[in-house]
Symmetry: C2
Subunit: 419 residues, 2 copies
């Protein structure tokens, strides 16, 4: 139907016209004023209440409640959560995204990505690094200490530097990262380095304490996934202006909370289409197996929504081995498969090894259902128990049922019978 | 012959056992005491005198003579050079290497790479960046001002940081760069970034002046080829312990001065086998054509000698387009061709996109002559006139005649008749 074609052209047009710039780091309650009052906890994925939350999500909630001073300890926090002492909302409902458990609360620093074309902003916390971290359900003293350092040291230093240099444009930086082996989900070493080198002079100019500066440079330089959260905020900033385009069948968000997988589609507004989340297939760190693993989790699938992650696997042959996705030389096959469900290709985000094929851009729910090809997602794997952390990395498919439900609702909206 | 096999095994073994570490930056006359006396100028390539030097080499010599205070201006320097006022030697004769014209003189800062396995050291100046620079024959006030800044600001800051952190191990850093699209000759953006992020904390800790620190971070972060000179010193540090192994037919150096191409072979000691240098085939910057170009130049072919550059083209599909070497998706073919003339593969320097094929390592002159496959070199192209600079990038072959001469000499050495 011509109306759908036109709407999808407009939707993908907005994606391609986006101009995301990392401009600031501020306390979450400044970026999202609603967080200032009450005990609000934003989490990854579609809406969910405590009784349905998975282990690592519960672990992260207990940890963040202690961090925010709402509970004296993890046990008390867990009891309070079960009694309804905290208010839970998806990050996506407040212009934010968060990896894995995706905790966002009032005092955490969030990075601000402004989409200069459409003047909207999106937020994501600062990546904590690897190992035992809150996004994978970690919640012990070491995890909380790192969060405090991010709040008290890293956040303010990054903020000063970003304000001084006028922000870091992300579209060209991501383009560069694609030529350097990153797919921006499970591999961000190039973009993390590019961001560091862009920001380092401003950090030096605005830093009063060289010891703290050295700490921050060391933290950023030692964290190959630092850019993940920047890429996620970029994804949210790109996709928010695509929401609510009448007749568009383009996916605006894919997200999971460890229990459910949810998608949103432009033409059907802010409705979540939800199905049980799948279990990633992947490789486990020594000492862990798939029996330890939690189902797929996090808002990080926003990067696939914009054509990165599993969609850009061809840019990152080294990722294929890391996530157990077969031979490195065949990584391009994942990208080629995703072109089947993408509305178009991004001419500015290209993959040299595929002779500069643009990443598949704009997931069309009609194509997903027609072809039976679900979006490929590169993901981290959390232990299913609270307090443990990451145990592997893998590949997972978005559940087909989300797309089928969405297509039925979309057809209703269009006044035609569903397929 | 078994003696040759054994010698080559030993030669390539030494290459693979090498442990290059960037440990310091010092004035060249400290690293190479012979430079302290007289007006000595080290240049790229095999030995050459003024009357046979190409335009950009002459331009660089005039510039460096002014920089060192030996001449009041470029014309005077040129006249002095013609009258024999300067002493010319190859970098290779003093444990050094230099890109393109390869000027090394007493007061320039040189980076020190120590091969910890064999306790030898190699030196290379600090990369000047792109555009009009001395290595491409540039010699105006702006070029000399940058050299002064490298001497007075960058060199001392880098030295302090390297001493404080105990040096940066380069073997693993290069391995990482190969998974990030670098081949370490015409593309060094990944390794430059990895080096910056490794060094930044120490730079912060040892820097007294945040303004100068910011200048250095900005210079390093803005120079995608910063690592080239580090990679070259790495190559020299790796290959020097391979020199002079009786019965070994492995190439220990390939180098060119813009007039001649020279190679050295382990079993024939320090003899240069020389042939006229070839003209690169490549792509030119706007406004320039092949009629402007100077024949191939520089000691940078030391990176091909250790299996990088043209030998690692498969790691860097984006380079293929930049140097005009055909489709990006076929970059791997260059690497595969080089396995025909390489004695072995490097298990620690692998190329993900080629399913972790190790880079071809140890150029065997017997295989070069037998197969008729000359080493592929990725190179920058200089304008043939002095004072202009880089005008493009391309691919060039090492002249087959060098290898034929070397094989004859090698056969004589072995007491068998030449092929």
């Amino acid at each position: 139907m011509e109306a759908i074609e036109q709407a999808n052209r407009a939707a993908v047009g907005r994606m391609l016209e986006a101009d995301p710039v990392l401009i600031d780091v501020v306390p979450a309650c400044e970026a999202i004023p609603a967080l200032a009052d009450g005990r609000k906890i934003l989490h990854a994925g579609p809406p969910i209440e405590w009784d349905r939350m998975c282990g690592p999500m519960r672990g992260a909630i207990a940890g963040i409640a202690v961090f925010e001073g709402w509970s004296a300890g993890l046990d008390e926090a867990t009891a309070m959560a079960a009694e309804g002492a905290f208010e839970f909302h998806p990050n996506h409902h407040f212009g934010a995204v968060g990896p894995m458990t995706g905790m966002t609360t009032r005092s955490q620093p969030v990075m601000v990505v402004e989409n200069r074309t459409f003047a909207n902003r999106a937020y994501c916390t600062v990546n904590e690094g690897l190992g035992k971290v809150m996004r994978f359900g970690g919640n012990d003293a070491q995890v909380l200490k790192r969060l405090a350092w991010l709040r008290d040291v890293a956040g303010p230093l990054l903020a000063k530097a970003l304000r001084e240099c006028g922000g870091i444009p992300l579209k060209s930086l991501i383009a560069r990262g694609l030529s350097m082996g990153d797919e921006m989900h499970q591999r961000n070493v190039a973009c993390s380095g590019l961001l560091l080198r862009e920001l380092a002079p401003a950090l030096a100019r605005t830093s009063q304490d060289v010891q703290l500066l050295a700490e921050l440079l060391s933290f950023m330089g030692g964290n190959d996934q630092f850019f993940l959260n920047v890429g996620m905020a970029t994804g949210k900033a790109i996709m928010d202006p695509v929401r609510g385009i009448e007749c568009s069948s383009i996916v605006t968000a894919m997200s999971r909370n460890g229990t459910d997988f949810g998608i949103r589609v432009s033409g059907t507004g802010d409705t979540w289409f939800i199905a049980p989340v799948e279990m990633p297939e992947g490789l486990y760190f020594p000492g862990f197996t798939e029996t330890d693993s939690n189902p797929d989790m996090g808002d990080s699938t926003i990067v696939e929504t914009i054509g990165l992650g599993g969609f850009a696997m061809g840019a990152a042959p080294a990722v294929a081995g890391f996530v157990g996705a077969g031979a490195a030389s065949e990584a391009g096959n994942y990208t080629r498969a995703m072109t089947e469900i993408g509305y178009g290709e991004n001419p500015e985000w290209t993959i040299p090894a595929l002779d500069y094929l643009g990443v598949p851009t704009g997931i069309d729910i009609r194509l997903v259902v027609e072809t039976g090809i679900a979006p490929t997602i590169n993901t981290g794997i959390a232990h299913k128990e609270p307090g443990i952390g990451q145990i592997g990395a893998g590949v997972v498919r978005a559940p087909m049922d989300c797309f089928k439900q969405a297509l039925r609702a979309f057809a209703d909206e269009m006044g035609v019978s569903g397929q």
